[in-house]
């Protein structure tokens, strides 16, 4: 995975496969303690304790198409190499929470990547699922809730790529004000 937003996308896809109707993603950046934490919580079908205990084992998966499941094991191995770890809490019928944390300025920590585009890709392609996103940097906090957006703009607006592009622009702006790392603009053609 090239950047953190791909890891987040991967974990969110697990939530979607578990039949979640609400997925929440929280990104917390603590500049003083040089920590970064990402929490993905869903209200999907959850996991049995026996499966949960083995969930970060790459040779464990619910899929029947092949016998390896790499998403969580990959993220855990990476988090450990960046001075952190990954934990999974889950109960059948109550959903799953994946929490990963690591040193924010660790030299091997990849950039956040284009998280706003990733998030809006999810919102646009998964109309039936609600997303809650919260980003904290020090004392500042940004929130986005598709349930609120549906009330404010109407459910149809969330299926419209042009409107979502406008909204994404605003999210990028607010995150920029908070000091969240931005995706560098593409280099100009020579």
């Amino acid at each position: 995975m090239e950047d953190l937003s791909l890891h987040i996308l991967d974990i969110v896809e697990n939530s979607l496969m578990a039949g979640a109707s609400l997925v929440s993603v929280a990104i917390e950046e603590d500049l003083q303690d040089d920590r970064m934490a990402i929490t993905v919580a869903d209200d999907g079908r959850g996991m049995e304790p026996g499966f949960l205990a083995r969930v970060t084992d790459p040779f464990v998966t619910t899929r029947t198409t092949r016998r390896v499941g790499l998403g969580l094991s990959l993220m855990q191995a990476n988090a450990r190499s960046w001075g952190g770890d990954l934990t999974v809490h889950s109960r059948p019928g109550e959903g799953t929470t994946v929490r990963v944390w690591f040193q924010r300025c660790h030299i091997d920590r990849p950039p956040l990547g284009d998280w706003p585009r990733t998030l809006f890709g999810l919102i646009l392609t998964r109309q039936e699922v609600d997303f809650y996103y919260c980003h904290r940097v020090g004392e500042q906090e940004f929130e986005l809730d598709t349930r609120e957006l549906k009330v404010e703009l109407g459910a149809e607006a969330l299926a419209d790529p042009q409107i979502m592009a406008l909204l994404r622009g605003q999210v990028v702006e607010v995150l920029g004000q908070m000091g969240v790392e931005q995706v560098p603009a593409l280099p100009l053609e020579p």
Binding site: M1, L6, L9, R117, E141, L153, D160, L167
Partner: protein
Amino acid sequence: MAKLKISDLAKIKDQVTASTSLREGGAQVKVTVHMGTCGIASGARTVLNAVMDELEKSGRKDVIVTTSGCMGLCSAEPLVTVEKLGDEPIKYSYVDDPKMRQIFNRHVLEGEIQTQWVLAKGSEQ
């Protein structure tokens, strides 16, 4: 703690009323980007961004883009399925940004199947 929210919802709201009044009928084409760990690692997000970008440019309201999980053919990822109403789904393999844009503009919009990149016809199972 300072809470920040999107400020300019009013401006976006105007856009909504302008655009949703144009929406008519149901979806005619469905584009599915396969987004398992394998797909994501091999570039499915780039493909999804490309199709979203083209959809936004085209202004078409009868195309839906969605994602699904791993199909079991990880070595051929990123995979994309294009399904036109009433036709058998077409699966494309090793899709990237330019291929996705071409598939969107030629196949999704014009109905011209890009046979050079087709992996299979029909649904899995």
